[in-house]
Amino acid sequence: MSGEDRRKEHVRRLLDTPPPPVPQELLAEAVRRGERLRRLRAGARRFLWVVGTAVVAGVVVWLVVARPWAAPEMPVTPPLTGW
């Protein structure tokens, strides 16, 4: 066994102590905060959906009403020449 392997083995033994018990309140707190994070994300997603849908609907309505691809109506009749 090389010196490095021996040192690593020493560190492994140093770290390998029995793990402490997990406090029940830590789990409960993690679930509580995780649940809140989930609700926040769901809320943000819903909000984005609502905003996105509203924007799409608005653009469609505007397209139908304003017909921006049609040539604009002339405010005055073009001069009639050469007849």
Partner: protein, 162 residues
């Protein structure tokens, strides 16, 4: 269970708690090793673990075959690394942490814990730390040397016979 610590009885909460109750001890130990706190009082390690576990809970439905233990460990280490980076300026003159990895720097602690305690492959540990794999190998080796010869022992003193 006291009334403030009720856990909801949804299928998600039940699955999560059965995972966390099993893996939590090892993860808490890992967190305590990183923070270097004395075994009796580990508020910082608990905060880290709570934050990492709550993230795993929130992602529970989207894990799609990912190991929740790996996820939580990754989040825990990333949180510790981020906090350590923010504290790095105040680190000079700090008293030594009492834990077994107390003499090490945050990066060395992460490398040692991932490589020697968790047995994570070098490449994966390197990706987590954002360092090249050779650097992780060097960090681990240097940390092992420092732990084998604790400060106070004369330089070049024989390693403790264990």
């Amino acid at each position: 269970m006291s009334p403030g610590h009720e856990i909801p009885r949804t299928a998600r909460a039940r699955a999560f708690v059965s995972f966390a109750a099993g893996a939590g001890g090892r993860l808490l130990h890992l967190a305590v090793l990183l923070t270097g706190e004395a075994p009796g009082s580990t508020p910082y390690a608990r905060r880290l673990l709570t934050a990492a576990l709550s993230r795993t809970y929130a992602d529970w439905d989207a894990l799609r075959g990912d190991d929740p233990y790996d996820r939580t460990r990754q989040d825990l280490v990333a949180r510790y690394a981020r906090a350590a980076w923010h504290r790095r300026l105040g680190a000079a003159g700090r008293t030594r942490d009492p834990g077994p990895l107390g003499p090490l720097t945050p990066h060395e602690r992460i490398a040692v814990v991932l490589r020697l305690y968790e047995g994570v492959p070098e490449e994966q540990a390197a990706a987590l730390l954002g360092l090249p794999a050779e650097r992780v190998r060097a960090l681990t080796a240097r940390a092992s040397v420092r732990l084998a010869r604790p400060p106070g022992g004369a330089p070049g003193a024989p390693e403790p016979a264990r």
